[in-house]
């Protein structure tokens, strides 16, 4: 019997102590309240497009109703390649334009320019307007002229001279001879707020060394970048 009583005492004491400590601790807990901050980020969109009725050429093949029309060609002769109406106002070649929504997102992202039945020193000018249809401002960053053989020529605000003034000579079929000259009226670095637009022009002049009866192609990738990081992709010019 004695042994049992002695055994009960040591077990009961720790239990008592634990209860006391627990009650004291609860009574001394600091006051606090958790405030929640829920963060939801609705990101904007950087997007731009071509639009119908804002794409023009100096020598159209068709009118607005898609009917063939007679329109005098333009020529540009060396050495200065000033564009003039072709001798006798002759209509031999023409420039077709087409807008494409290549990714099906509802806006035109591709402009097809097709020069038909053209000949040395035929010159065409294509003027088009680009629209910021995103939700954040953008800046016109660069163009990449991409040949079918993979050659890429890149121009930005930092190096526009060749493509803007001197003309970029292109060998499109890899035969070692230049086929066309391309000039770009750039608007590099121009900032477009949402809804704003900018005009850009493209000139193409056919050279004597272009092959006859040929289909030649090149692509121009026109890139815009978020306005606030423009300086990170285009080195800024010093004074």
């Amino acid at each position: 019997m004695n042994s049992n009583r002695k055994a009960v005492l040591p077990i009961g004491l720790p239990l008592m102590l634990a209860l006391v400590i627990a009650s004291i601790a609860g009574a001394s807990a600091l006051w606090y309240k958790t405030m929640d901050t829920n963060i939801t980020v609705h990101s904007g969109e950087l997007d731009w497009e071509f639009r119908n009725n804002t794409v023009f050429t100096s020598d159209p093949c068709t009118d607005n109703m898609n009917n063939s029309i007679t329109w005098p060609d333009s020529n540009a002769f060396p050495p200065d390649f000033d564009v003039v109406i072709a001798p006798e106002g002759k209509d031999v070649g023409c420039t077709g334009l087409g807008l494409i929504d290549s990714d099906g997102d509802g806006d035109y992202d591709t402009l097809n320019v097709t020069l038909n039945n053209v000949y040395p020193y035929y010159a065409t000018e294509v003027d088009f307007r680009v629209w910021n249809i995103g939700t954040i401002p953008l800046k016109i960053w660069r163009i990449q002229v991409i040949l079918d053989n993979g050659t890429i020529y890149e121009y930005t605000e930092a190096n526009p001279n060749e493509v803007e003034h001197e003309g970029l000579y292109l060998d499109l079929n890899g035969d070692g001879n230049y086929d066309v000259i391309m000039l770009w009226g750039d608007n590099f670095g121009n900032q477009l707020e949402t809804g704003q637009n900018a005009d850009i022009s493209l000139h193409v002049i056919v050279l004597q060394t272009a092959p006859q009866g040929a289909n030649l192609h090149f692509m121009i990738g026109l890139d815009a970048v978020q306005w606030n990081e423009y300086s990170s992709v285009v080195p800024q010019q010093g004074p």
């Binding site: 020529n75 992202d109 097809n112 320019v113 097709t114 978020q226």
Partner: protein, 194 residues
């Protein structure tokens, strides 16, 4: 053993680091958007072809003028005009020719290209035949001349005539050639490359 253990621990760490850098890099790409301008240049063609409309001589006519009862017996010489397969040249051969007879070949020139052209330079005969032909030999109608403009599909016709003078030698061979050069209309009269 220790080395292996260290390597074993390092490999997953490196992988994690690479993944982290990759995700970080992806997250850091600035936003940009591309528009494309595709430029297709379909060049035209400058092309011309010749054809032979006919040929002959005036032997019988001369015989009639001379009162020959049977003028056909005077038809002793002849001319042939043969178009080459590429339609770019015509071989003209006059057999048993003699002075005073006019031999002719009626020639068509057609623009078979897709852009207009102009004739560069008035075509003239060259070669030693010119030393034994009359001054009125050559094209007779004055149509194929310097600056003649032809649009795609246009055809012009002219007669090339050759009359030998008395200075022609018997049993001799005289040769000549005549070039017709055409060039794109918008660069006329720039000389084509030689």
């Amino acid at each position: 053993m220790n080395t292996n253990k260290k390597l074993g621990a390092a490999v997953p760490l490196l992988l994690l680091a690479v993944l982290a850098v990759g995700m970080f890099g992806g997250a850091m790409a600035l936003w940009w958007e591309r528009l494309n301008v595709n430029v297709n240049v379909n060049t035209g063609t400058l092309d011309a072809q010749l054809s032979v409309e006919g040929s002959g001589d005036n032997e019988e006519a001369l015989a009639v003028q001379a009162g020959e009862p049977d003028p056909t017996v005077k038809d002793v010489s002849n001319i042939t005009c043969t178009l080459a397969d590429d339609a770019n040249s015509i071989d003209i051969v006059i057999n048993n020719a003699y002075p005073g007879v006019t031999y002719y070949c009626n020639i068509n020139l057609e623009n078979t290209g897709t852009i207009p052209f102009k004739v560069y330079g008035t075509p003239t005969l060259e070669g030693n035949i010119t030393t034994v032909m009359t001054s009125d030999s050559g094209f007779q109608n004055g149509t194929i001349v310097n600056g003649l403009q032809m649009h795609p599909g246009d055809v012009v016709y002219d007669t090339l005539a050759i009359t030998l003078t008395n200075s022609a030698q018997e049993n001799s061979v005289y040769t000549g050639h005549l070039n017709i050069t055409v060039e794109q209309w918008n660069e006329f009269p720039t000389a084509p490359p030689s």
